[in-house]
């Protein structure tokens, strides 16, 4: 390939969901640009979301999580530098300083920069937190360490935090035969995803499967010598062989902050509709960036793989000189924990109240097939509706199956500003082995209409 001296230089810091998507989108818009990705990890282009399922054994090996092998980067002419850490951004000179695996420093010039530095596992200031053996699950090496501990004969685990990572990993541990105790500071599990009434259904299912769940218990101290052997939580001493810190993640913004790139109200990197930061030609995407929630219009840092790739696609196009807008976030998300699926889109009732939105809710318990059809599983749909406009602003579903595509349908409904009155008349599909004649989404809308009378 001949060197093109006029080629645009696009630099991406980070090479997972958001970074690779940005680089790919940039390549689609500009066939001659010099596109470089740097990542401090040894592996690029893998799925973080898949990590718990390698630990659980559903996926045979961590290398199966690689979505983009080196051939992909070769085919798209993306210059990938692994084990290379970006240490400084100079937005005046348009230069990023990096240190490669040999320790050599290099200055990379850019015309457009995409920051996709992700997020780091968060550890609250708990006494004894410097002890060895407190694991977290964020990257491939973390996953390998945890799996190694399991395979080296760990019999019990304490998980701190009842978010998606904590619960999905807890399920994986139980599937590997470990005894699991989960400690959560708040009164419910999945507090960022579900209202308490819906979370209770998931919690009961997990308890039936043998997970010991302790809510309203704050981790006060890590016990043991150099190596952690137990925790104090709510005045109770809990010992285990394996400790997983799943308190949540925080946007990794240090590089941006040091370069004078402003953060927004969510403490992630502030962006406009083009995913451009307050500094011209510098974009931010994925877990380190914020974007407006479609309902509250407030900036949020959603930290989901789905949002990361959507950010990336928009920023990559803009970085290459094309035009694209990111519409905003509903933060639709689903998970599967043993035989229960849970999903959310838009706001929970609690999140709506916090945003000053008055809501009416309705929840319907139904089955995934006609009630008389063998194998019908329970499914519960909860809708959250804004009182004055009667628009649907959120939905949560917990059930044995059929959750994801209902969440998607309700996400579309919210994005198109559908009212609960329209949903109550909606046309849905039915056959005895597949659904009830009245879909529970429609019945939940009917319930809310009655409450609005």
């Amino acid at each position: 390939m001949k060197e093109n001296l006029m080629a645009k230089r696009i630099l991406v810091i980070g090479a997972n969901a958001a970074g690779v998507e940005a680089a790919s989108a940039a390549r689609k818009k500009d066939r001659t640009a010099e596109i470089t990705l740097v990542t401090q990890e040894k592996t690029a282009g893998y799925s973080r979301c898949g990590l718990p399922f390698v630990i659980g054994g559903q996926i045979p090996s961590f290398k199966d999580l690689i979505v983009y092998p080196s051939a992909y980067f070769q085919m798209l002419k993306l210059n990938l530098k692994t084990k290379t850490k970006a240490t400084a951004i100079n937005t005046e000179e348009k230069v990023v300083t990096v240190i490669d695996k040999s320790g050599a420093t290099e200055s990379l010039q850019y015309d457009s920069l995409v920051i996709a530095t992700g997020a780091d596992a968060f550890m609250p200031p708990i006494k004894g937190r410097e002890k060895q053996g407190i694991l977290s699950l964020r990257n491939l090496e973390d996953g390998e360490k945890i799996l190694e501990a399991v395979q080296n004969g760990a019999k019990s685990a304490v998980i701190m935090g009842a978010g998606l990572i904590g619960l999905e990993t807890g399920v994986a541990f139980i599937e590997r035969g470990l005894k699991v105790t989960l400690v959560e500071m708040l009164p419910q599990i999945l507090p960022a995803m579900l209202d308490a009434d819906m979370a209770k259904l998931v919690q009961e299912h997990l308890q039936e499967k043998g997970m010991c769940i302790l809510t309203e218990k704050r981790v006060e101290e890590f016990l043991g010598g150099d190596k952690v052997t137990g925790i104090m939580a709510g005045g109770e001493k809990i010992e285990a062989d394996l400790f997983l810190s799943a308190f949540g993640v925080r946007a990794n913004t240090k590089l941006a902050v040091d370069a004078g790139i402003p953060l927004g109200e969510s403490r992630a990197i502030k962006t406009n509709g083009k995913m451009e930061t307050d500094v011209k030609d510098v974009y931010a995407v994925g877990d380190c960036a914020e974007a407006p929630n479609l309902i509250t219009h407030k900036a949020v840092c959603a930290q989901l793989g789905t949002i990361a790739v959507r950010h990336g696609k928009v920023a990559g196009a803009n970085a290459a000189g094309a035009y694209s807008q990111f519409p905003g976030v509903l933060a639709s998300a689903v998970t599967r924990l043993f035989e229960t699926e849970a999903g959310v889109t838009g706001l929970t009732a609690v999140a709506a109240k916090r945003a000053g939105i008055e809501v009416v809710t309705g929840a319907i318990s139904s089955k995934t097939k006609a009630d008389y059809y063998p194998g019908a599983l329970p499914v519960k749909v909860k809708l959250v509706v804004e009182k004055e406009s009667q628009r649907i602003i959120g939905a949560q579903i917990v059930g044995g199956a059929e959750v994801t595509q209902r969440i998607n349908a309700l996400s579309f409904a919210i994005q198109k500003s559908m009212t609960v009155r329209e949903l109550a008349k909606a046309d849905t599909a039915y056959a005895p082995p597949l659904n009830e004649t009245w879909d529970p989404m429609v019945l939940a809308a009917e319930m809310i209409l009655m409450r609005l009378r």
Partner: protein, 136 residues
């Protein structure tokens, strides 16, 4: 035909590091992309191919393939003059996904330096080994 990690590698072809295959047919060669390449690109929606008469050079781009997700240069595996272009693959790029080695061929080239250039390509045995190291 063998399958390496779910990727088809037919015998009797030469292969390049840039995911192309070459079939020697008398004094001409037929070129296309490998099964591995089409699986990386996924559903191909656009194939930009040269016109007959165009000179192509080994290791240099002669066209572009675009899928929903990706875009990739076609890199010539041998040098020569394009004699024929697969119009069917151009109008129905899905042929590249469905049948990359037969119906999805891309160009027929009259080579200018074939014997020397074939030495730069992989034969079947080498291509099988190469595919094993590619990752899915």
């Amino acid at each position: 035909m063998v399958k390496v990690e779910n990727f088809e590698v037919p015998e009797g072809l030469y292969y390049s590091n840039d995911f192309s295959w070459v079939k020697v047919e008398g004094d001409k060669v037929r070129m296309g992309i490998t099964d591995y390449a089409q699986k990386q690109l996924r559903e191909i929606v656009y194939a930009e191919l040269p016109e007959a008469g165009t000179e192509v050079k080994q290791n240099e781009p002669y066209g572009t393939l675009e899928s929903v997700k990706a875009v990739s240069d076609l890199v010539a595996a041998v040098s020569g003059t394009v004699e024929e272009v697969n119009a069917e693959a151009q109008s129905q790029p899905e042929l590249l996904n469905e049948d990359p080695y037969v119906k999805g061929w891309l160009v027929i080239v009259k080579p200018t330096n074939l014997q020397a250039e074939l030495a730069n390509l992989m034969d079947f045995d080498k291509a099988v080994e190469w595919h094993k190291n590619q990752g899915k």
